[in-house]
């Protein structure tokens, strides 16, 4: 589904990614953990080209998205992205947040998009907020809407960039529940997070990133119970 080959990313002198190789299979739930500054967010953001790789290749569904001839907008339609800071469109109602892209990109009519949006909002229990503006919602509600907004595009993969890091503790659960539901429905997911419980429970693969490389990857069982590298042992001892 997504193949990353020898990915490097430099921000001026800061060498953030130093040769990342990975393959995400259909239906997998890949959870990426690691200390801050390890490059895990950059890795995720490269997958839909929000960051342009310095070198290396990324293939999504057989398309090389790092090729400058690729129409990245087309590829992104199938790659949902959820941000740490929600990034709901502040000037639009919740309904219009969800219907804007499907309608403007001609994937469905405005009516179909609205109908679809209401169904999706019902799934996350926010139907009554359809006409509200983002500023009237709590953080947890915003993030649930942000997930719905991505789902409205019928993505084949969902990317999550620390989706619960900006939330009050009591709101983390409601967002994780939605993500769990999504995982159960068979969605392919790549999740950068600090929620170890989520990684253990929902992940099919857990990656540990440090200093710009994937240091260790394993099933959640092995990953948490039997860490191999000393760096991961040290990290887990701090966070668990």
């Amino acid at each position: 589904m997504i193949t990353v080959k020898d990915l490097h990313k430099k921000f001026e002198d800061n060498h953030v990614l130093r040769g990342v190789n990975y393959h995400v299979h259909q239906g997998e739930k890949v959870v990426v953990i690691g200390p801050s500054g390890s490059g895990k967010s950059t890795f995720l953001r490269c997958m839909n080209l929000l960051e342009t790789p310095t070198s290396g290749e990324i293939w999504v569904d057989g398309v090389n998205i790092t090729d400058s001839k690729t129409d990245i907008d087309k590829v992104r339609q199938h790659l949902g992205m959820v941000f740490q800071n929600f990034n709901l469109f502040n000037n639009l109602t919740i309904m219009n947040n969800i219907t804007l892209a499907p309608a403007k990109l001609g994937l469905m009519s405005k009516e179909e998009a609205s109908e679809n949006a209401l169904k999706l909002l019902e799934r996350v229990g926010l139907t009554e907020k359809a006409d509200a503006y983002p500023s009237q919602l709590s953080g947890g509600q915003k993030q649930r809407v942000a997930i719905v907004r991505s789902l409205a595009m019928n993505p084949r993969v969902m990317l999550f960039d620390e989706p619960t890091s900006a939330l009050d503790p009591e709101m983390v659960g409601e967002v994780l529940d939605v993500m769990k539901g999504l995982a159960d429905s068979g969605m392919t997911m790549v999740v950068v997070t600090h929620e170890m419980g989520f990684a253990r429970e929902v992940g099919t693969k857990v990656l540990f990133m440090d200093e710009g490389v994937i240091m260790e990857e394993n099933t959640p069982q092995e990953f948490f119970n039997n860490p191999k590298s000393p760096r991961l042992k040290e990290f887990l001892s701090k966070v668990l």
């Binding site: 992104r76 339609q77 502040n90 804007l100 990109l105 503006y133 500023s135 991505s150």
Partner: protein, 233 residues
């Protein structure tokens, strides 16, 4: 008391009534408003264009020729007095033009454009980058995200300083007397020199400017409130 009142009313009559002088103020105000209105529109068009030129940074992060051109324009216009710009336009560039008002509109519009450019640019930059990222990640193009997401939010940011710019522009037109156009300020000055009495015409003109700008301020505030409806918490 009675004597004072009589004196004032004589002054008032000389300044506004005799020979239907109030019509002169109205004509002057008409010239002022005509110049300010069209110059403001021209300034908005030029300024928006310049702002987008300045924001057109290439993918590799290098400045494009558009950025350089916009910077030169803004530097030159902001670095010279507007009276001089007006006189250069009137006596040199458009010396053959008979339409003084048109020359003034062009001169003030070109001047205002440089200031509006920075206002618009700041308004766009003030919109959180995450909004653009969210739009792009949904598959919308840069232009689509600009039109549906960034610009509507930037308009709200821009409104207060743009209102300020309109007000400054309106008052700045008082210098058109330098190129012998008869705007409100010049009318007041001419009547003062004819009646040998400066108080009434000058204060009168000041009051008229004040009222016009007060109305403009109220309209802008109304407009701003309407745009802010998505902000109520």
């Amino acid at each position: 008391m009675h004597e004072w009142f009589q004196k004032v009313s004589v002054m008032f009559e000389a300044a506004f009534i005799t020979g239907d002088r109030w019509k002169l103020y109205l004509n002057g105000l008409g010239v002022t408003l005509e110049i300010a209105f069209f110059a403001a529109i021209l300034g908005m068009v030029i300024g928006t264009l310049l702002a987008f030129m300045k924001l057109s940074v290439r993918r590799n992060g290098k400045k494009s020729i558009l950025v350089v051109l916009a910077n030169v324009y803004i530097d030159v216009i902001r670095g010279t007095p507007s009276v001089l710009q007006l006189m250069i336009m009137w006596f040199i560039i458009m010396a053959n033009s008979k339409n003084g008002v048109l020359v003034a509109i062009l001169s003030f519009g070109i001047n205002s454009g440089a200031y509006v450019a920075e206002i618009v640019r700041a308004g766009i930059l003030a919109v959180d980058n995450g909004q653009m990222e969210a739009g792009r990640s949904l598959g919308l193009s840069k232009v689509q995200t600009m039109i549906y997401i960034i610009i509507p939010q930037a308009v709200k940011n821009v409104l207060p300083p743009i209102g300020n710019e309109f007000i400054v522009l309106l008052k700045e037109t008082a210098i058109v007397g330098y190129v012998s156009l008869t705007d409100l300020t010049r009318v007041a000055n001419q009547i003062a020199s004819r009646t040998y009495e400066a108080f009434m015409p000058l204060i009168g003109a000041a009051v008229i400017y004040f009222i016009v700008i007060k109305i403009l301020t109220i309209l802008l505030a109304k407009f701003e409130r309407r745009l802010r409806k998505s902000d109520n918490r």
